[in-house]
Amino acid sequence: MDGKLELRETQKLEGHSDRVWSLAWNPVTGTGGVPAMLASCSGDKTVRIWQQGSSKSFDCTAVLEETHTRTVRSCAWSPSGKLLATASFDATTGIWQQIGSDFECVATLEGHENEVKSVAWNASGSLIATCGRDKSVWIWEMQSGNEFECISVLQGHAQDVKMVQWHPFADVLVSVSYDNSIKVWVEDGDDDWHCAQSLGESGSGHTSTVWALSFSECGNRMVTCSKEYDCSDDLTLKIWDTSGNPSQTSGDGYAPWQHICTLSGCHDRTIFSVSWSSEGVIASGAGDDALRLFVENKDNVVDGPSYSMLLKKDKAHAMDVNSVQWNPKDPQVLASASDDGSVKIWELVGVSQ
């Protein structure tokens, strides 16, 4: 890349009356004449839908309220873009459908004992995973008529589960937890889900709560983030790879993950979120109010793959950054959510010297 790169703030979306925890781009929007659409969820118990108008600016087109009775912690669109799942501290997960200009809650997934912290759809949209403080991960299968059936409750984490993410194309689920581990869950056939791998017991794992993870576009790598305590070396971003050891696949094509790189010394506060763009740029949002971008070092590959920081945006928000998400249809556009109650839209641009 020639010249310097800069993360330029293009818009600040205000409206939530409490911290914004998470956001999600509607995956089928922002292309083919369909305006980009974004959902954000908040401690104010609502979810806001933002849509990009003809002037390129985002307006709030819907507020999903009076349903969740506590913080909405996470939201995720189905791959078809037709449904939005919302995970709440009220122990339920709502499923919403757009009816005209409004959104209606068409289903409520109940079962977790307490706060649900994350929700994610698999690549085909047939399954939803949720996780929470009750240490469990639940897998739900979509039936006809927007009905959902719980097909598995996965126990294994020793503590609070912070996030779940599905692999971009295989039905492999990864969860990260307050117990410092990352667990990979696969199906043995016939709804028999089990933990195929647990990353963290050996020396290369995180030494504190793992808050989030993000897969690379082709799914052979993932990045996880944390905040390490009492270390002189602040090890906070880890990259894992599964392109090696093809002989260790089993049945479903599952290949084990290996730690390949740790990014240290970059963060002073907890990294709450990471997002891997289709162009290979990793964005992180942290408790020091900053956004950081990382890329793989293509030259100088000495001891295997390595990553380094591309740029840092100080004071991206007035308070902690809780969530970062690249626009899946425009890899130069990033959205961030903060404790300051706002969502910001950024564009990665080249600056002429």
Partner: protein, 158 residues
């Protein structure tokens, strides 16, 4: 389960004499006054212990010196000493400290709360919980816990 108070006979210390701060000669009325250690201490000294009718200062759970801050960096760390090693109220005390500072300090501030090293049986676990923003947020949505915290903080608003 043990009923009754965790520590029925806490040691009570005298409160430090409070000095009225003299108003400084105003040189620049637009200058933001830096926050100092004493100011932070004044926010927390009168927090009532959840179990006894004494303040955290009187029980020496917090002292002025247990507060480390860097106003330039908008950072503060409060180290508190529970009265007994197995104090199950440690997380409540920590939560009270956090809530009081959250309500009293500018939003730019980053706050760390920890138990004094070596003073609690499950120090690492308590520290981890107190510094997990999500856990704190969820706890504060629990009405009974919030009520307990507000009761402990009531004396600090007078």
């Amino acid at each position: 389960m043990v009923t009754g108070l965790i520590n029925a006979n806490p040691v009570v210390y005298e409160r430090k004499e409070r000095h009225l701060r003299s108003s400084p000669v105003v040189i620049d009325e637009y200058a933001v006054e830096p926050i100092d250690q004493l100011e932070i201490f004044e926010h927390v000294r009168d927090i009532k212990d959840p179990e006894h009718p004494y303040s955290l200062e009187e029980l020496k759970v917090v002292t002025e010196d247990s507060i480390e801050l860097d106003d330039q960096q908008s950072y503060v760390r409060v180290t508190f000493t529970p009265t007994v090693e197995h104090c199950s109220m440690a997380t409540v005390i920590g939560l009270c400290l956090r809530v009081k500072l959250m309500r009293s300090l500018p939003s730019r501030y980053k706050v760390d709360i920890r138990v004094a090293p070596g003073t609690h049986a499950t120090e690492a676990a308590v520290n981890k919980q107190l510094n997990d923003k999500e856990r704190v947020a969820a706890a504060l949505e629990n009405p009974r816990l919030l009520e307990m915290v507000d009761e402990c903080l009531a004396a600090t608003y007078i």
